[in-house]
Symmetry: C2
Subunit: 170 residues, 2 copies
DNA sequence: CGGGGAATATTGCCGAGGCTATAGTTGCTG
DNA sequence: CAGCAACTATAGCCTCGGCAATATTCCCCG
């Protein structure tokens, strides 16, 4: 084997991207932990609270997160136990049920969001001058549109809050 | 709560980065799976095979991956069972043991690397013209140097192959 | 040189989450 | 309208991997 494969610029490019992701994830997790939230729970709160009626069917919630439907069942179990969300029967389809953010869930999200935004500012967007940041985001957007089979066609529009998997609403 | 927090450009920036990461991770995992490797196993093979003697002490391997030491113990257990690595006693320190890549491990890595590089080319680096790619990488490098407490001071040098955690050799 | 603190690998125990099977609904179609 | 395929949520079982405890070894300092 060629011992220099690992100096291939493609490898270093991916390494860079993954290191940034790992670093940011770790900091986010630490900050969210202070508010008693895991990254997944934060993502669920985010997705629900930006949806009409602060609710989403379990399936749709799964489609917008990095979780399978059974994973959503379980995280909603935990969050319901903790009072952050509640289940509501869907009137039009008795197979479905809604997950709704509770007042406590909204409060929790409000508490953690400022720190979260500050963290992004401090460690990501604030590290670059506007031109460099814009170039970075343009590049990411292009790659995202390619790699993400179902990216919002508008291409610049609403990006998910965090950790969204390859399966966001298509 | 301000309903427009989620349109904050900081949120969309992080969302973009995380979506790209998720998309690439998923494609990498699929391709590696065809060669019977998980992302973690691929990372272990990569780290070992780029190390002198194709070996690394368990602790050092843990420091260079996204795993804790017990996680390394376990993944090496599995890979030893599958014949991809072997354990060797460390002559100078009887507490330590080396993980060594076997010939089968090297072969497995050789088989999967071309497809991996092709994937990076197809979905990441090849999506941008050289100037845009360079701008993207410059931005990532700056953010990496900030968020990664122990980035290689050279700042442009050797990046890890994949999924490296915040704990790479410092 | 002897004893205590640090380092190393491993193991037990646990939570997270994926896959698959399952039960309950829905809606289409013959 | 009966039956059947598709959809929805959930539960069982499994793997992965982290934390804390443990045994072993090393090293430094009195």
């Amino acid at each position: 084997m060629n011992p220099n494969v690992f100096d291939d610029p493609r490898i270093t490019a991916v390494g860079l991207l993954f290191e940034v992701h790992a670093g940011l994830s770790a900091r986010f997790a630490t900050q969210l932990e202070e508010h008693g939230l895991s990254p997944v729970e934060f993502e669920v709160l985010t997705r629900l609270s930006r949806s009409p009626g602060n609710q989403l069917r379990m399936t749709d919630l799964a489609a917008q997160t990095s979780l399978s439907t059974s994973g959503v069942t379980r995280v909603v179990d935990r969050m319901e136990r903790d009072g952050l969300v509640a289940r509501r029967a869907c009137p039009s389809d008795r197979r479905s049920s809604y997950a709704v953010v509770t007042a406590a869930g909204l409060r929790r999200l409000d508490e953690s969001l400022p720190g979260h935004l500050q963290l992004i500012q401090d460690w990501f967007t604030g590290q670059l001058d506007p031109a460099a940041l814009s170039a970075l985001l343009d590049g990411l957007r292009r790659v995202r549109d390619a790699v993400h089979p179902c990216a919002t066609a508008g291409s610049g529009g609403s990006a998910p809050a965090e950790g969204a998997a390859a399966s966001a609403r298509c």
